[in-house]
């Protein structure tokens, strides 16, 4: 099953996604949670913490800046750009973080 969560900023997309992911994980399903937000913070709601959330973002950013190679396949993507969250959920940041222009 593939579920995408959308909505206005601040409406609770990230929190909902995290709870759905962990609930499915607790029911015994293997779950991959993909953060596709340009301001990625799903890690916080999943419970991996600030530092790990920022580490995943910088991994993703390194790819844009040419300091990391693209993963050739799904498994390697999850391995290199992912992190283990509680309840067996695997989190990966896959958003395209365009280098934000300050002005």
């Amino acid at each position: 099953m593939k579920i995408a969560v959308v909505g206005k900023g601040g409406s609770g997309k990230t929190t909902t996604s995290a709870i759905v992911s962990r609930t499915l994980g607790r029911m015994g399903y293997p779950v991959v949670a993909l953060d596709c937000d340009s301001n990625p913070n799903l890690g916080i709601s999943l419970g991996v913490g600030d530092t790990e959330t920022e580490r995943l973002v910088s991994m993703r950013q390194a790819l844009d800046e040419g300091n990391e190679e693209h993963a050739p396949g799904w498994d390697e993507l999850l391995d290199r750009f992912g992190s283990d969250a509680p309840d067996g959920v695997r989190l990966a940041v896959v958003t395209r973080i365009e280098n934000p222009e300050p002005g």
């Binding site: 900023g9 409406s11 301001n39 913070n41 959330t53 973080i97 365009e98 934000p100 300050p102 002005g103």
Partner: protein, 262 residues
């Protein structure tokens, strides 16, 4: 050093989606206008929400499509430009709505309509901002797109102060930290300050300061009547004029005016 003296405020609100930018920006603009300042508000969020908190009757007031014309073949510059003969001041005078307390309102972000309309609108916005003269009859209050993707777009050189609206919650403060990081870059905006929103006590405001590294210039308390005004799509300053949150935004206006005069 001779400091540039300018009596108008140019303030742009940024922050995570849902942090309360529009509600605070609208209340800020109305409070500023009540002090006798002519105020122009600009909503450049493609998810526009400022009209409600200003107390305008209509929520979606896109600009007419013929505001911009396509670049002629052989010419250079942006693909869409303001109609020849139309200055930025003309756009404000002819196309802005006037709401309560005389606040002028221009909406550039466009939710409906296909993407070309949106793009034209954004081009028009960039040019109006670029071409507004330094000496202006209005103070300007901007409501910007949420999040951290091009958070200062179009406003970088224009706004004197960016106010990041930040709730004392992990995700909101993470967005605040990211905004602070972008602001610290050489080409970043000059001044980014934090407005702590929905705080329950003083400790909440200091947490925002510690976790974002931004100076907190105002703290707006969590306030049920302010939230209720938003639920009813009404301007908090009309529906809950005596609420602690509206009072806090009024103090924020005073604070910025005071800092400008220093």
């Amino acid at each position: 050093m001779v400091r540039e003296v300018r009596d108008k405020l140019r303030v742009a609100f940024v922050g995570k989606g849902g942090s309360g930018k529009s509600a605070i920006a609208g209340t800020f603009a109305r409070a500023l206008a009540r002090r006798g300042e002519p105020v122009l508000t600009i909503d450049s969020d493609p998810m526009p929400g400022l009209a409600f908190s200003l107390g305008l009757e209509r929520s979606d007031t896109p600009l007419p499509e013929d505001l911009v014309v396509e670049r002629k073949e052989g010419e250079t510059g942006p693909r869409w430009r303001l109609r020849p003969g139309l200055s930025a001041i003309d756009v404000v005078e002819q196309y802005s709505l006037t709401g309560p307390d005389g606040v002028r309102f221009l909406q550039f972000g466009k939710l409906r309509g296909h993407s070309a309309t949106m793009m034209k609108s954004q081009f028009a916005f960039m040019q109006v901002i670029d071409q507004l003269p330094t000496e202006m009859p209005w103070s300007v209050v901007g409501d910007l797109p949420g999040g951290t993707r091009q958070p200062f777009a179009g406003w970088g050189d224009y706004a004197d102060v960016f106010l990041a609206v930040i709730e004392p919650m992990a995700k909101s403060m993470l967005a605040g930290r990211r905004l602070a990081r972008l602001a610290a870059r050489a080409e970043g905006p000059r001044t980014v300050l934090a407005v702590a929103n929905k705080v329950r006590d003083e400790a909440d405001a200091s947490v925002v300061e510690q976790r974002t590294g931004l100076r907190v210039v105002g703290a707006v308390p969590f306030d049920e009547s302010f939230a209720e005004a938003e639920r009813q799509s009404a301007a908090p300053i009309d529906r809950a004029p005596d609420s602690l949150a509206v009072r806090a935004v009024e103090s924020l206006v005073s604070q910025l005016i005071e800092e400008r005069q220093r």
